[in-house]
């Protein structure tokens, strides 16, 4: 148990930050606990911002993880308009934008990421939208409600989820992806191709291997000029080209950073009184047996639990199967493990909107699976991966082979 006159301070009031607080209380820490956020709203879930929230079907209040009373209940001092400008490790202090100094005994950095801005001219135009914060989501939802044409730059999860919603709202949609296939970082070519087909069937114009040369203001909206000389008129543009970890505070105070705040398997930074967790962390992932930065709810939650344990002086190791999901139209894509890179993959079922899974193997061992409307197979794969249970490609491909029974055994 940590006993000190100073509180534990958590910088970043998102999924990971809240989980650190919950886990600290659950772990028996009963000292002062301060959660600092800079968005001015109660901690909330981001996934709906690129999905249902954009249709206006979900009010902002429903995104909050917990009501305000919850933070009182677990004695967390919530400061929602606190922008931290500096960490002074020698003084064990966090300095806010208004000059206020908050001392800490231990510190948790759960600062998340921010959107990568478009590098092309016109990226800063008013009709260009990003999707990261609640404020972004509210602005975009309002714009989509009045728009008829949208150009989406980036064929990753954010871009494609927004494309699906925009089509459902009846907009004309163009998706521009610089690589040769969609969601290239995360899924196999087979799954990429399936999704390209799916979006096209829904009337989305998908342009692969194309990049944006410039965005120009035009009457009533913008013109998006591509590298092939083509031009697309739209009411607005949505950019989803990746995120950048918020590691500047950490770097400035001398903590090791490299594609995020570097932490070990116990979520500890190069300062033994400071941990980091979630999107902002470049961590040693015990399950994957390598360092990685993962952008997911699963990582935020599971790594935050380890970070909290480390803050309490317990020895904890981060070992959990990564998982992720994406909702596009009426299909749920769920990913278990990290399937890329792989040297073998098998299809379970038939490629089509009724659902199927693709299992990935490396050196004969199961490393992950992408499941489309096959949640039982997704869950089975997660369990198999966690248990280290052997699965042959032949069994994975054989729909008569009971994966669930194997996962339960």
């Amino acid at each position: 148990m940590v006993t000190s006159a100073y509180p534990i301070v958590v910088i970043g009031a998102g999924q990971a930050g809240l989980q650190v607080c919950d886990s600290l209380r659950k772990g028996g820490y009963d000292g002062r606990l301060i959660l600092l956020g800079d968005e001015g709203v109660l901690p909330y879930q981001r996934p709906p911002l690129s999905k249902k929230f954009l249709t206006g079907a979900l009010q902002a209040e429903r995104l909050a993880f917990r009501p305000a009373s919850y933070y009182d209940k677990i004695a967390v001092e919530l400061r929602l308009d606190a922008r931290v400008t500096r960490i002074d490790r020698a003084a064990h202090a966090v300095i806010l934008a208004d000059g206020e100094v908050i001392h800490y005994s231990r510190l948790a950095l759960t600062t998340g990421t921010r959107v990568r801005p478009l590098p092309c001219p016109g990226g800063e135009l008013e009709d260009v939208y990003y999707v990261r914060t609640l404020a972004d989501g509210e602005r975009l939802a309002a714009r989509l409600a009045r728009a008829t044409r949208v150009v989406i730059i980036g064929g990753g999860f954010i871009g494609l989820e927004v494309a699906a919603v925009a089509r459902e709202l009846g907009l004309q949609v163009v998706v521009i992806e610089a690589l040769e296939r969609l969601m290239a970082r995360a899924v196999s070519p087979l799954v990429s191709e399936f999704y390209a087909g799916l979006h096209r069937q829904h009337g989305v114009e998908v342009k692969l291997g194309r990049s944006v040369h410039a965005i120009r203001s035009a009457a009533g909206g913008v013109n998006v000029e591509l590298d092939d000389g083509s031009s697309h008129a739209a009411d607005c543009v949505v950019a989803g080209i990746g995120v950048i970890p918020n590691s500047e505070l950490a770097a400035a105070c001398g903590l090791a950073c490299n594609n995020g705040i570097v932490v070990d398997v116990g979520a500890r930074t190069s300062d033994r009184e400071i941990v980091a967790a979630g999107d902002c962390s470049f961590h040693y992932n015990g399950f994957l047996a390598r360092e990685i930065r993962l952008e997911s709810v699963q990582n935020a939650v599971d790594q935050a639990k380890v970070a909290a344990a480390s803050l309490c002086g317990d020895s904890a190791s981060y070992y959990q199967v990564p998982w992720f999901w994406s909702d596009q139209y009426d299909l749920k894509l769920q990913m278990a493990g990290v399937g890329m890179p792989h040297d073998a993959s098998v299809l379970r079922g038939e490629v089509g909107p009724a659902g199927f899974s693709v299992f990935y193997f490396r050196a004969g061992a199961l490393v992950g699976a992408d499941s489309i409307n096959r949640p039982a197979e997704h869950m089975a794969c997660r369990k198999l991966l966690m248990q280290g249970t052997m699965l042959t490609p032949a069994a994975a491909a054989d729909q008569d082979f009971d994966l669930l029974a194997l996962a339960r055994s």
Binding site: Q45, P47, L63, A376
Partner: protein, 106 residues
């Protein structure tokens, strides 16, 4: 407003008013019911909002659909009356519903 009765993991029973249209999960979260974690925020992508529907209410609540049923498959301690509370929409027909929160902390 419909009332939902939550029995949490500690056996504590609380009667809560939950607006029609919200999910039973959201009601639990709003009222700070211990044990409903809802990690995926209600998108049927995890199983941490798992609860047992009181036998007397089972018929009225109905069974899970195929997707929920699959997601429930590997929830901890699944029982015949298991449901993912994010998939149960509160309505006046469910006024008085009793659910017992499952062990969701993995």
């Amino acid at each position: 407003m419909p009332r939902i009765i939550y029995v949490d993991v500690n056996g504590e029973r609380r009667e809560c008013e939950v607006a029609a249209g919200l999910s039973v999960m959201e009601g639990a979260v709003q009222h700070g019911i211990a044990g409903i974690l809802a990690i995926c925020g209600g998108s049927c992508a995890c199983s941490t909002c798992h609860a047992y529907v009181d036998e007397a209410w089972l018929a009225r609540v109905g069974p899970p659909d195929e997707i929920e049923d699959s997601t429930l498959e590997l929830a901890l301690d699944r029982r015949p009356n298991s449901r993912l509370t994010c998939q149960i929409k509160v309505s006046s027909a469910l006024d008085g519903l009793i659910v017992q929160v499952a062990q969701n902390d993995g």
